[in-house]
Amino acid sequence: MKFDIYDFSVLTKSIHESLNSMMGETAVMISEMVIVGIIFLTLFAVLGLILVYVERKICAFFQQRLGPMRVGFWGTAQTLADLIKLLLKEPLITKNADKFLFNLAPFVLIIASFMAMAAIPFAKGLHAFDIDIGVFYITAISSIGVVGVLLAGWASNNKYSLIGAMRSGAQIISYELSVGLSLLTIIVLTGSLQFSEIIESQREGWWIFRGHIPALIAFIIFLIASTAETNRGPFDLAEAESELTAGFHTEYSGMKFAFFFLAEFINMFIVAAIGATVFLGGWMPLHFGALESFNAIMDFIPPIFWFFGKTAFIIFLMMWFKWTFPRLRIDQLLTLEWKYLLPINLINILVMAFFVLMGWYF
């Protein structure tokens, strides 16, 4: 049985053609950009709201609590209520803050995560920006976010913020390496940096299974490094509320604080989506070589659910880390990267390259 997944490019093409018949070329381009922008903005906001709620609920269940229960059914409208509260809050700026940079910082952070989101393939053909160096693009864009954190820490003119921002800078510069190298381990297998091709190459099975041991090691390293890159616990040194009160966003309030908060969750979604795409086959359903009927059942689940399911799984893992482990100290954080993750990663790439040469993968 040949499996056929609905290609969203059919839909997008038809929209493109109907727009073309209505107006000129420039107008089509502008209106398509606006449509995509609006869709992504909505997705951004909805994802943020859902992730904040899910985080609070999951954290609560880890801690034998119930979490938000009052607003809406099982507290589902809680984040919406919080959003309204944050919108109505007075935006405070400290007297000696660098006002321009202070206001700019949250936008730098949020634009960086917004741009990274463009390269994520949600389903077949549902892809805003299928650039041929997709992995490279995302690793490059996601490190712009740290500029926002550094700006926030510097412009707040608060000593805690500055320490937090400096920590964050050191952290992201080092962990960027591990994220890149662990993704590279899989690129050795795929031979392409384009996300759609990476997914296409996993038609026979996900890389985490086909690449077995080196892929698994790369996945674990990716999980650790991406948790660190998004500044989440146990690597939340930039915030470290028991040491630096709130780190780089100590002085922020209202909507600007909400931007930092939102960016953290969207970044988490982005790295989880990349992990799901590269290691777990993106929107590809779960297939086992010979089990035809099993594969057919799996094909019934639409690819977009596969994508979000896998992303949710990785997000859950990251939340599990956060709500279990104590925070590392800054020197231990760097030790972990330079003495453990990086050498293991380099050896792992060599092993993977050797395996590929010998054809020792499924």
């Binding site: 954290c59 000593k159 470290a240 040491e243 709500w323 925070r327 231990q332």
Partner: protein, 372 residues
């Protein structure tokens, strides 16, 4: 920038005010840190934000009233504080309480120690970033607090001891509930080890951090689990037994490392010992009156009376100077937290900000105890 300006900036110290409002100072302690990057050069505690002049208030109160003020000092070991005052007053009026009272007081003290250490464990995890441990610590503490609530009528400031005994006799299902708790907590305590003690991150954060030598511990008067982790044998329960501690068998926990992990382990081991003490006593509470009758207004004879007890934080002393009236002429509390805080600079010098947080949570500060 010219080199002189750069040098001048380099010579300036980078100060940070940690507190009075800070998540990890557990109250209104203000620490003035001078930093070199992230490395701490000096820690200077500033006190006085929660000073309520309890010692002065005691000078106008009768001896019965003083007891309830000691609840408000080290609120996590309020029962032991109450006991110290009552023992000192009983010494003064030469009253021997019944065996039943002694055993009840010992059980309640050990339960208080357990609850205090549970809360400390939770907060310790939270200070190091493992927020989940906070909730688990509180979950287990809740069971003890419920026992207290049923027995004493209050959850935190219990005011259960009175000169001459305890305020109420224990309720009927007290023994049953305590035994249930012991069974429950023996299952939960290994979970603490899985979650924090054996965790590689936790070990890296605490081992070899904030070392306090035995000599320093003795010269600063660091007592309790913090002192014993440095090898300073200072358990009042062993050395000057009071209440029923002379009839129970327990180990004095001693470690020699003196670092954060040793202080952590000392407290975890103390929890096991506390449960062991309670197990020995809970089935043999002797019959007798739970309260000896005293005069409505107790008057101590002229003289000086001192009683020390082992609270969850160390040696707590009550020193009463009486001039024969109904209230003391002068009353001095020796609180363990104050002495321990003095050693903070010795422990924290040269370590990082994150280490300071670990050190502060392992010495288990309760600010109202430091700042009476």
């Amino acid at each position: 920038m010219s080199t002189e300006v750069v040098n001048e900036i380099k010579e300036q110290e980078y100060f940070i005010n940690m507190g009075p409002q800070h998540p990890s100072t557990h109250g209104v302690l203000r620490l003035l840190l001078s930093l070199d990057g992230e490395i701490i050069k000096n820690v200077e505690p500033h006190l006085g934000y929660i000073h309520r002049s309890i010692e002065k208030m005691c000078e106008k109160d009768t001896y019965k009233m003083i007891v309830h003020l000691t609840d408000r000092m080290d609120y996590l070991s309020c029962h032991m504080n109450n006991e110290a005052v009552c023992l000192a007053v009983e010494k003064g009026i030469e009253l021997e309480v019944s065996d039943r009272v002694k055993v009840i007081r010992t059980i309640m003290s050990e339960l208080t120690r357990l609850s205090s250490h549970q809360l400390w464990w939770g907060v310790m995890g939270m200070d190091l970033g493992a927020i989940t441990s906070f909730l688990y610590g509180f979950r287990d503490r809740e069971m003890i607090i419920d026992i207290f609530e049923e027995t004493c009528g209050a959850r935190l400031t219990m005011n259960y001891n009175v000169p001459g005994g305890v305020m109420f006799d224990i309720p009927n299902n007290f023994q049953k509930r305590v035994k249930e708790f012991i069974i429950y907590f023996k299952k939960k305590l290994p979970e603490y080890d899985d979650l924090l003690s054996n965790n590689v991150i936790f070990k890296a954060r605490t081992e070899g951090v904030g070392i306090l030598s035995k000599e320093d511990a003795i010269s600063y008067g660091v007592t309790g689990p913090s002192g014993r982790a440095s090898g300073f044998s200072c358990d009042i329960r062993k050395q000057h037994p009071y209440s029923a501690y002379d009839r129970v068998d327990f180990k004095e926990i001693l470690y020699s490392e003196g670092d954060c992990f040793a202080r952590y382990k000392a407290r975890i081991d103390e929890m096991w010992e506390s449960m062991f003490i309670i197990e020995q006593l809970i089935d043999n509470i002797p019959e007798g009156s739970a309260r000896e009758t005293t005069r409505a207004v107790i008057k101590l004879p002229k003289g000086e009376f001192y009683q020390k007890v082992e609270t969850a934080r160390g040696e707590f002393g009550v020193y009463i100077i009486s001039d024969g009236k109904k209230s003391p002429y002068r009353l001095k509390f020796r609180s363990p937290g104050f002495s321990t805080l003095n050693a903070l600079n010795t422990m924290a010098k040269g370590s990082k900000i994150a280490d300071l947080v670990a050190i502060m949570s392992t010495i288990d500060l309760v600010i109202p105890d430091i700042d009476r």
